[in-house]
C-alpha cells in the first residue's frame, strides 16, 4: 500500500475513508468497528498491504457475504491511489435495508416539485403492482417488484411438543421441584412450573420449474428465498425443491441472505429449467428419498404447479394421496387459479385436488402474501 506517497491525506484519514466506502457498499460498519480496524492496522503495521487487508476483514466484516464486498471495495480504494477520486463502488442495496416503496427513480422522481404527490403516486403504483400477474411484467416493473418481496414475512407455523419446558406458571413440575429439594438435602424450596413446549413446523416447498411455469419460476424462487430467510429469523426451517423432470434440492442455495445471489446459485443447481413435467414421478422420488423419511412428516407441504402433467395423471393422484397421509397440511398453489375463466380441468389438477387441504392462487405478490398467511396458520 503506497500511503507514504500520499502527501495530502493522513493514514488514519485514508483508512477511515475506506471504512465509510465500505459502509456505502452495504457492509454494516459501525463506529467501534472502524476504531477496531485502526487499532488492528496499527498492530500489524501500515506498510504491509496484505496484513492490512486481513486486519480489515477480521475487524470490519461479520459474515461471509461481507467478505466478498470487502474485497471489492478494498481493491477499488487502495489499488488506484493516483488519479481523481473515483465513484464509490456501490453494490445493490442489501435486502434488509431495501425500501418498502419501490426505488425513487421510478414514479415521478426527477421532477421533484411535489414530494407528497410523488409519494402518493409511488404508493398507489406499488399497490397496483402488488396485484399484477408476475408473468406479464416488463423488466423494469419486475425489478421494482423484486424489491417489494422484502415485505413478505413468514411466521413459521408451530406444533406442540411432547416435552415440557419450564415456565413461570402453568402446571407444577413435580420432578424438577423434588430434584431441586433433594439437592438441598430435602429442604423445601421454590416450586417449579412447566408447560408443553412448542417448535416451529417444517415447511416444504415444491416448485414446478417446467416449461409451462417458466414465467413464474423466478418469482416463485424469490418467494421461496424470502420464506426461507424470514422463517429462519424465527428459528423455522423451510426446505425447497424444484420439480420438473427431476427433483433438485435447492435449500442450500437459497440460504444465502442476498436474494439475487441465492437465485443465481439456485439456477446453477437446477438442471431441468423449462423442461417437461413429470410431476407424479418426481413427487414419488421426493417421497421415497426425503418425504416419507421425515422431511414431509408433520410438515406443511406447498406444491407450486399449474398441473400440466405430461406423465400419468393417476400416478400423480396416488402420490398426492401418499403425501397427504404423511404431511400435516398440503397446499396446492396454481398461478392460473386467480384468472378469470379458470376451471381446474387439467388432468394433473383433477387427480391431485382431492388430496389437497388448500387450493390457492399464486400469480401476484398479493396472492403470495395470502399464501404466507395460510402457511402461518396451518
Amino acid at each position: 500500500m503506497s500511503v507514504g506517497a500520499e502527501e495530502l491525506h493522513a493514514p488514519d484519514e485514508v483508512l477511515l475513508g475506506f471504512a465509510r466506502a465500505l459502509r456505502a457498499a452495504g457492509v454494516p460498519v459501525t463506529q467501534d468497528r472502524a476504531h477496531g480496524f485502526l487499532a488492528a492496522v496499527a498492530a500489524v503495521g501500515l506498510d504491509d498491504r496484505r496484513a492490512t487487508w486481513w486486519a480489515g476483514r477480521a475487524t470490519l466484516c461479520g459474515s461471509p457475504d461481507d467478505l466478498a464486498r470487502f474485497d471489492q471495495v478494498f481493491a477499488a480504494w487502495f489499488d488506484h491511489r493516483d488519479g481523481p477520486p473515483r465513484a464509490r463502488p456501490r453494490e445493490t442495496p442489501r435486502p434488509a435495508t431495501a425500501h418498502l416503496l419501490p426505488d425513487a427513480e421510478s414514479g415521478g422522481a426527477g421532477r421533484g416539485d411535489e414530494d407528497e404527490d410523488v409519494l402518493r403516486v409511488a404508493a398507489s403504483e406499488s399497490e397496483v403492482l402488488r396485484h399484477r400477474d408476475v408473468a406479464t411484467l416488463d423488466a423494469h416493473d419486475k425489478r421494482r417488484l423484486d424489491a417489494m418481496f422484502v415485505r413478505l414475512a413468514l411466521r413459521p407455523p408451530t406444533r406442540r411438543t411432547a416435552r415440557h419446558r419450564r415456565w413461570h406458571r402453568g402446571s407444577v413440575d413435580a420432578s424438577r421441584t423434588l430434584r431441586a429439594s433433594l439437592r438441598r438435602m430435602g429442604e423445601p424450596g421454590e416450586i417449579a412450573w412447566r408447560r408443553r413446549g412448542t417448535r416451529p413446523r417444517r415447511v416444504v416447498l415444491l416448485v414446478d420449474v417446467s416449461g409451462s411455469m417458466s414465467a413464474y419460476a423466478d418469482a416463485l424462487l424469490r418467494l421461496a428465498h424470502r420464506l426461507t430467510q424470514s422463517a429462519r429469523a424465527h428459528g423455522g426451517v423451510v426446505e425447497t425443491f424444484t420439480v420438473g423432470t427431476r427433483l433438485t434440492h435447492v435449500t442450500r442455495a437459497l440460504r444465502s441472505p442476498d436474494p439475487d445471489r441465492a437465485l443465481v446459485a439456485a439456477g446453477e443447481v437446477v438442471p431441468d429449467w423449462s423442461g417437461g413435467t413429470r410431476l407424479g414421478e418426481t413427487l414419488r422420488v421426493f417421497l421415497d428419498r426425503w418425504g416419507q423419511r421425515g422431511m414431509a412428516r408433520g410438515s406443511v407441504v406447498v406444491v407450486f404447479s399449474d398441473g400440466w402433467e405430461r406423465g400419468d395423471a393417476a400416478l400423480l393422484g396416488e402420490q398426492m394421496a401418499r403425501l397427504q397421509r404423511v404431511a400435516h397440511r398440503v397446499v396446492w398453489v396454481n398461478p392460473h387459479r386467480g384468472k378469470a375463466g379458470y376451471a381446474p380441468l387439467q388432468g394433473g389438477v383433477v387427480a391431485a385436488l382431492p388430496h389437497c387441504d388448500d387450493f390457492l392462487a399464486g400469480h401476484s405478490l398479493a396472492t403470495f402474501a395470502d399464501l404466507t398467511e395460510v402457511i402461518a396458520r396451518a
Binding site: T30, A43, W54, A55, T59, C61, G62, P64, R183, E187
Partner: protein, 288 residues
C-alpha cells in the same frame, strides 16, 4: 507472540498449519485482547485451532460447549448447595451460632463451583473456547457479551471476579443461525474455508504422519473433487479427510483402489444418498 509469523510458527510446531491470514487474525486477537469469532463449514478446524493455541502457548484450555438452553449457572458459576447445608448443620451442632456470621460463612469461596467462564477468568492467562455458540439461545449471547467486554463476573453474594489478564477467547459457530451483531462487533471475525489441495495434503501429513505420501495425495484429491460437487448433502470436511486417511492406513492401504475406497467410504460420507452417489462415480474420480 510478537508477530503473525511467530504465531504461524508456534501453531505449526503443534501440527496445526495456519495460513497467513489466520495467523494475522490470531496475532491481532492476542494483541488487541479481543475474542476471535471463527465461522466456517463443519470440519474445517475451528475447534482444533483453540486446542492448538493452548498447546502452543502452553496455557490451560477451558472449554465451554454450548447447547440449546444453556444458562448462566452452567457457564459461569453455581453455589454448592449440599455443602452449604452441611456446613450450616455443622454450625448448628457446634451450638452458639451467630446468624450473621453463619450467613457470611456460607458464601465463601470454597462453596463456589466455578463453571468454564469463571474458571477461565480465574486461571487466566488461559484459552477459553466457546464452542458452537450458534447452538445456544440469543439470551445467552447477551450474557457472554458482558463477560467478553469487561472480563469480569459479578456474583451478588460474593463480589466481582476480575481476570488478572484477559483470557484468549475463541468462539466457533457453524452458522446454523445468525449471531447477534453486538456480539460480532466485539469480536474479530474470520471465515475458515476448506484448504486447497497442497495445504490439505500437508495437513494430513502433519496430523496423521502414519499415512503415506501417495495415499494422502490420492485421498485429498478425491475429497477435493467431492467438495466441488453440488449434489452432496454434507460435503466432507478436513476432519473427515483425516478419518478416512487413517481408516485406510489401518487397512494397510498405500495405494487407493476402487474396492477399498468403496468399502471405507463410510468414514468420509455420513449420508446414504451421498454414499450411493459417490460410489457410482468413484472409478471416474479415482482415474483422474
Amino acid at each position: 507472540m510478537d508477530s503473525a509469523a511467530d504465531v504461524a510458527a508456534r501453531l505449526g510446531a503443534t501440527g496445526y498449519l495456519a495460513d497467513d491470514e489466520l495467523a494475522t487474525v490470531v496475532f491481532l486477537a492476542s494483541r488487541m485482547q479481543r475474542p476471535l469469532l471463527l465461522e466456517g463449514e463443519p470440519g474445517t478446524g475451528k475447534t482444533a485451532l483453540a486446542e492448538a493455541l493452548a498447546q502452543a502457548l502452553d496455557l490451560p484450555l477451558v472449554r465451554l460447549q454450548c447447547y440449546e438452553g444453556i444458562d448462566a449457572s452452567q457457564a459461569l458459576y453455581d453455589w454448592d448447595f449440599p455443602r452449604q447445608i452441611l456446613h450450616l448443620r455443622a454450625l448448628e451442632a457446634a451450638g452458639a451460632v451467630d446468624s450473621d456470621e453463619a450467613e457470611k460463612s456460607l458464601y465463601d469461596e470454597r462453596f463456589l463451583l466455578a463453571r468454564p467462564v469463571l474458571a477461565a477468568l480465574r486461571q487466566a492467562p488461559a484459552v477459553l473456547l466457546v464452542d458452537e455458540v450458534d447452538r445456544a439461545d440469543d439470551e445467552f449471547e447477551a450474557f457472554l457479551l458482558e463477560v467478553l467486554s469487561t472480563w469480569q463476573v459479578t456474583i451478588p453474594e460474593f463480589g466481582t471476579v476480575t481476570a488478572p489478564e484477559p483470557p484468549l477467547v475463541v468462539l466457533t459457530s457453524n452458522r446454523t443461525r445468525e449471531l447477534h451483531d453486538a456480539l460480532k462487533r466485539r469480536c474479530l471475525y474470520h471465515w475458515i474455508d476448506h484448504p486447497g489441495l497442497e495445504r490439505e495434503v500437508e495437513i494430513v501429513r502433519s496430523r496423521a504422519p502414519e499415512v503415506g505420501e501417495q495415499l494422502a495425495r490420492q485421498v485429498v484429491s478425491l475429497v477435493q473433487q467431492l467438495r466441488v460437487r453440488d449434489d452432496l448433502l454434507k460435503p466432507p470436511g478436513v476432519a473427515e479427510t483425516l478419518d478416512w486417511a487413517r481408516a485406510l492406513t489401518h487397512l494397510g492401504t498405500t495405494d487407493l483402489d476402487l474396492a477399498t475406497a468403496a468399502a471405507t467410504l463410510g468414514a468420509l460420507l455420513k449420508y446414504r444418498e451421498d454414499g450411493d452417489r459417490v460410489k457410482a462415480a468413484l472409478d471416474r474420480m479415482l482415474s483422474r
